[in-house]
């Protein structure tokens, strides 16, 4: 079992994000802003940070790759190592996992994991194009598949296989915008209706503009540390109690079922087992809702609902804030935004805020256990983490 030889319990001691949206600052600037916010939130000095894990996909679009040393130089700790990790839209959670593993193994007692993306200045056509490079390009991107197109193909399969309508998918967007409306960091802090979704322009049938998360700029950062470090440095912290990773065939065509993402099932089963929990124990979850169909599939693959029943749960409002299980209290990728390298870390920021009583109006009542689920591409890579309040 994964946890058998670990020497340290791992905690999240601080968290911070920039606002998500169209940002004017450079990628280096926003990386630093989020990292400083996380370090200050933890109540520590940068010199306590022994290394950094940076998640980023398209640094080249803002003329800055190898962001780690730039960040460490700005933090006054240029001698400390850094590592940049790319796993498409799942980069943040994969980076978090690597940071987690390094604390758990006892290599370091305190690290930061910072995720960042800066792409909106390239425009819709080029952002769409860059994102398509995250597919299995020989089979998908090369044939004109966009990311909305790949998830639309999953949505078409779901509509064909199960009792679902496009209006049902729209309800996912409405719910996440209701949550994001309460999140001051959200890219799209506004409420929408089912009618707004249905009347928005088609991007890739059956998905319409408001079924899709926005392209966003933004950065998020968390401080990870050993339990001993957390206790010595005071402040609010939460504990990481489950961690799992999985993979799926890179192209949709290779999946046994077109409406199931295998990596989610693999990663979540590992995380539940490590935590000694079942899906019923989870109070709220930040899941990868890059498109409305994705959230439905996620909630099934994570075990919250039976396959084909996720859409029924949406119809019955069982995933709204403070209902059966609060899904995406932050607003999710759909409303909070999706700066792809930052998203997986941003989810941990939300869990930290929720479990330390800092989530304001969007607080999940009496929440003790939170889960993050973040994947790359159409779920070709995935990481799931489970956290508990202390």
């Amino acid at each position: 079992m994964l946890s058998a030889n670990f020497v340290e319990k791992v905690c999240v001691l601080g968290a911070g994000s920039t606002k998500y949206g169209k940002l004017s600052e450079s990628i280096a600037d926003i990386t630093t802003q989020a990292s400083v916010a996380a370090i200050e939130s933890a109540g520590i000095e940068p010199k306590e940070v022994k290394a950094s894990y940076i998640s980023n996909v398209f640094g080249v679009a803002d003329k800055q790759v190898h962001i780690g040393p730039v960040l460490m130089s700005r933090l006054g700790i240029p001698d400390r190592p850094s590592l940049t990790i790319e796993s498409a839209c799942g980069s943040g959670s994969v980076s978090f996992r690597e940071a987690y593993a390094n604390i758990a193994a006892g290599f370091y007692d305190c690290l930061i994991a910072t995720g960042v993306e800066k792409v909106t200045h390239t425009g819709t056509e080029w952002t769409t194009t860059y994102f398509a490079y995250c597919s299995d390009f020989f089979y998908e991107g090369q044939a004109g598949a966009s990311f909305p197109g790949l998830f639309a193909s999953m949505a078409r399969a779901y509509l064909t296989e199960f009792d679902a309508t496009e209006e049902d998918f729209a309800k996912v967007a409405v719910k996440n915008h209701d949550n994001g409306y309460l999140n001051p960091k959200a890219h799209m802090q506004k409420k929408i209706s089912v009618d707004d979704v249905m009347k928005s322009p088609v991007v890739a049938s059956p998905l319409k503009l408001y079924d899709c998360c926005p392209f966003s700029d933004g950065a998020s950062s968390v401080v990870l540390c050993s339990e001993k470090f957390a206790k010595e440095h005071g402040g609010d912290y939460i504990e990481v109690i489950g961690s799992g990773r999985g993979g799926s065939p890179a192209a949709l065509q290779g999946r046994e079922h077109l409406t199931t993402i295998p990596s989610t099932k693999i990663a979540s089963e590992q995380a539940y087992k490590m935590a000694g929990l079942t899906p019923k124990d989870i109070d709220f979850a930040e899941v990868h809702d890059c498109f409305t169909i994705a959230e439905v599939v996620d909630t099934e693959d994570l075990g919250f609902f039976e396959k084909g029943q996720g859409i029924q749960a949406v119809r019955e409002d069982r995933t709204k804030l403070n209902s059966d299980i609060s899904i995406n209290p932050s607003g999710g990728l759909k409303s909070k935004g999706h700066p792809i390298g930052a998203t997986g870390i941003g989810q941990v920021v939300e869990v930290y805020d929720q479990l330390t009583g800092k989530a304001g109006e969007r607080s999940v009542k009496d929440a003790k256990i939170g889960l993050t689920h973040n994947f790359g591409a159409t779920g070709a890579s995935c990481a799931v983490h489970i956290f508990q309040s202390v």
Partner: protein
Amino acid sequence: MSIEEQVIENAKQGKLLTHKCTNCGYLHLSTAYYCLKCGSKGFEDVLLEGSGTVATYTIITVAPAGFEKYTPYAFVVLKLDNSDLRISGFMGGIKTPEDLPVGTKAKITGFDERGILIEKQ
């Protein structure tokens, strides 16, 4: 020729090059280098007719660079006849879902700057 080049040359003839595991018989797309089922490396080439039925698809109106001039077009996942394999490709001339119900018969017809080309039969 590399494997991808061989896939392309066969697609231009309307065929799909596949790899059959010489150990367990499992059939893969030819970009597989090791068997998904038994892990062995030996394959024999099997050339399939590129015909099948539409398993799922989307009609793209917001396209990646290079594809704007083709919109709207379909990206199709085709389930091949007489095997469990699926293959993806580009299908032009599709404007609404009524043009392409899931289950429609279709076939690989070529390869060009739009990748593997698929047309309704």
